[in-house]
C-alpha cells in the first residue's frame, strides 16, 4: 500500500499528462449469504457494511489510520453531489442513502462503495496513465477482503456480480483522455466505433449525453468474462497509447502559430476573467494542458490544471463555500480561485 498522505491524488505527477487526466480501476465483489443490494433491507445493508468495516479497518489493521468510514445517511445532499463530481462515488450511490457506506482514503485515491450495485466496489484513481499501478493497489485490497470474507465466486463465471455484464473479473479499468485535436478533426465517433470492436468503449465525460465539454473522453474495457485482469489492462493501455499518438499527430498538424495563439488566449481569459462557468473553465483549461505539453507555460503544470477541473465543479464549490450556492456568486468565486492559481496579472 502506498505511504499515507493527505495530498490529494490529482496533485501527483502523472504519465502522459498532455493527453491523460486520470486512470481508474474498479473491482466489483459480493459476499455469499446476502442478496444483492437491490434486494437488501436497510438492516441487511448496515450489517454487511459493518462486516466489511471490521474486515478492512478492524483492530490491528494497517489501513485504519489511512481510511475513513462514512455512513452515507449521515452525509448531506450537497456533500454527496460533491463526491459524485470528484468521481468518488457514482450518481446512483448518491441518490439512495439508507444503510450504504463509503470507505475513503485520505488522499481520495481509493474509495470503496458498500452496497452500491454490488456489495463492495473498490475504486482506485491515479493521475495520468497508470493502469497497472491502479490495478495493483485494487488487487491488494481485494486480497485483504478475500482473506477475511466469503467472497461469492463461481469457477465458470468468476466473481459473481449483480449485473451479468460485470461477471468474471468484475473489473472495469478506464482512462480519462483529453483529445481536443481529434475532436476538432471530427474523428471521435470513428475511434469510438473502432475500439468497440475490440472490447473497449469510449464516451464523453463531464458532458450531457454525447457532448464532451473540454474534449474529455473515458476509454474503458467492456468485457469482463473470458479475459484476465492483466490482459484487459494491457489492451486498454495499448489502445490508449495509440489514441494518444493520434492525438499528438493531430495536434502537430495545427500550425504552431495558431495553437500558441489559442493557448495564450485561454491563459489570458483565465487570468483576467471575473466570472467563469464550469463549462468555460473546462474548455479553457484544455488549452492550458496543450500549452504545458508544448512547453509554453512555465508557471502552470498539469497538476494545477487537474486540480482546477476537479475542485471547481458546481457541487464541490458549494460544499466548500456557503456563499457559492447561487450560480453568479459561484462563477465569481471560481474566477477568483483560478486567478490566484494562475498568478493574477
Amino acid at each position: 500500500m502506498q505511504k499515507p498522505t493527505n495530498e490529494k491524488w490529482y496533485n501527483q505527477i502523472g504519465e502522459q499528462g498532455d493527453c491523460v487526466v486520470s486512470t481508474r480501476v474498479r473491482l466489483a465483489r459480493n459476499l455469499r449469504g446476502y442478496p444483492f443490494p437491490n434486494r437488501m433491507t436497510a438492516q441487511q445493508k448496515r450489517e454487511l457494511c459493518q462486516s466489511v468495516r471490521d474486515a478492512l479497518l478492524g483492530d490491528g489493521s494497517a489501513l485504519r489510520g489511512e481510511f475513513r468510514y462514512l455512513c452515507m445517511n449521515e452525509i448531506s445532499d450537497l456533500q454527496a453531489a460533491a463526491m459524485v463530481e470528484r468521481h468518488l462515488i457514482s450518481p446512483e450511490f448518491a441518490k439512495k442513502r439508507d444503510g450504504e457506506a463509503l470507505i475513503l482514503s485520505a488522499d481520495e485515491s481509493i474509495s470503496i462503495m458498500l452496497c452500491e450495485e454490488d456489495h463492495i466496489r473498490i475504486q482506485v484513481m491515479r493521475a495520468g496513465l497508470a493502469v497497472r499501478d491502479a490495478l495493483d493497489v485494487a488487487q491488494k485490497l481485494d486480497y485483504l477482503l478475500d482473506e477475511r470474507l466469503d467472497v461469492a465466486f463461481d469457477e465458470q463465471l468468476g466473481y459473481l456480480t449483480s449485473c451479468p455484464t460485470n461477471l468474471g473479473t468484475g473489473m472495469r479499468a478506464s482512462v480519462m483522455l483529453h483529445l481536443p485535436a481529434i475532436a476538432q478533426a471530427g474523428a471521435v465517433s470513428q475511434i469510438a466505433s473502432a475500439v468497440s470492436k475490440i472490447g473497449l468503449t469510449m464516451r464523453g465525460t463531464y458532458g450531457e449525453g454525447s457532448r464532451a465539454d473540454g474534449s474529455l473522453y473515458q476509454l474503458s474495457n467492456q468485457i469482463t468474462l473470458g479475459i484476465s485482469e492483466q490482459t484487459a489492462c494491457d489492451n486498454l493501455e495499448t489502445i490508449a497509447g495509440q489514441i494518444i499518438a493520434k492525438e499528438r499527430e493531430a495536434r502537430s498538424n495545427t500550425p504552431d502559430q495558431l495553437m500558441v495563439d489559442q493557448v495564450y488566449r485561454a491563459l489570458g481569459t483565465l487570468r483576467y476573467a471575473r466570472m467563469l462557468s464550469y463549462d468555460e473553465l473546462l474548455s479553457l483549461t484544455g488549452y492550458l494542458r496543450i500549452g504545458v505539453g508544448m512547453g509554453l507555460l512555465k508557471t502552470v503544470d498539469y497538476n494545477t490544471v487537474n486540480r482546477l477541473i476537479i475542485e471547481l465543479g458546481r457541487a464541490s464549490m458549494a460544499e466548500q463555500n456557503n456563499s457559492a450556492s447561487d450560480p453568479a456568486a459561484r462563477d465569481t468565486l471560481r474566477a477568483d480561485i483560478v486567478r490566484q492559481a494562475l498568478g493574477e496579472a
Binding site: N30, R32, Y34, P35, F36, N38, R39, E117, Q139, D142, D146, E147, D150, V151, A152, F153, D154, E155, Q156, L157, G158, Y159, L160, T161, S162, C163, P164, T165, L167, G168, T169, M171, G199, I223, T224, L225, G226, I227, S228, E229, T231
Partner: protein
Amino acid sequence: MKCQNCNQNEATAYLRSTVNGKTTELHLCAECAKKLGVDSVDSLGAFSPMDIFGSLFSGMTPLIGKAASLKRCPDCGSSFEEIASIGKAGCPQCYTVFREEFLPTLRRIHGNAKHMGNLPSSAGVQIKTQRELESLKDQLRRAVDAQEYEKAAEYRDRIKEIEKQQEA
C-alpha cells in the same frame, strides 16, 4: 399434487416441453397455467413474458422463458423472468440456479463464458491446477516456436508431472 408455480392450488394441468434436448415437466393449477399462457397450445405464442425482458436478454426463446419463470432461486426467491426484466440477478446463488438460462446471454455480452481472471483463495485446487497446466502448455508452445528446446523440455517435464499427479 400442488401447483409448481404457486405451491397452493391443486395442479390440474401438465406441460412437457423439450428445448435443445432438455425436457422440462411442469404441473400447474388452472390459474397459473392461464397466467403463464400455457393453458392451451394455441396460446403459447400469444403471451410472452419476454415482452418485458430487458434488451440484454432479448433473443431467447419464449419457451425457455416460460419454463424458467416457474423456477425460483431458493435463496432470494427471484424468478429468471424478474432477473431478466431488471437485468440484475437477485443474489449470488441465482447464477447457479439459472446457469443454463444465463449462458446464452453471457456468451452474447462477453463473447464467451469462461472465467480467465484471478481466483479467490476459496477456489478449488482442481481449477488452480488446470490453470497452471494451460499456462505451461502455452509456454511450451512458445518455447518450441522460438526453438528454445531446453526450456521446452523443462515445461514438458513439468506438464507430465502434473498430469501424473492428476491421474493418481
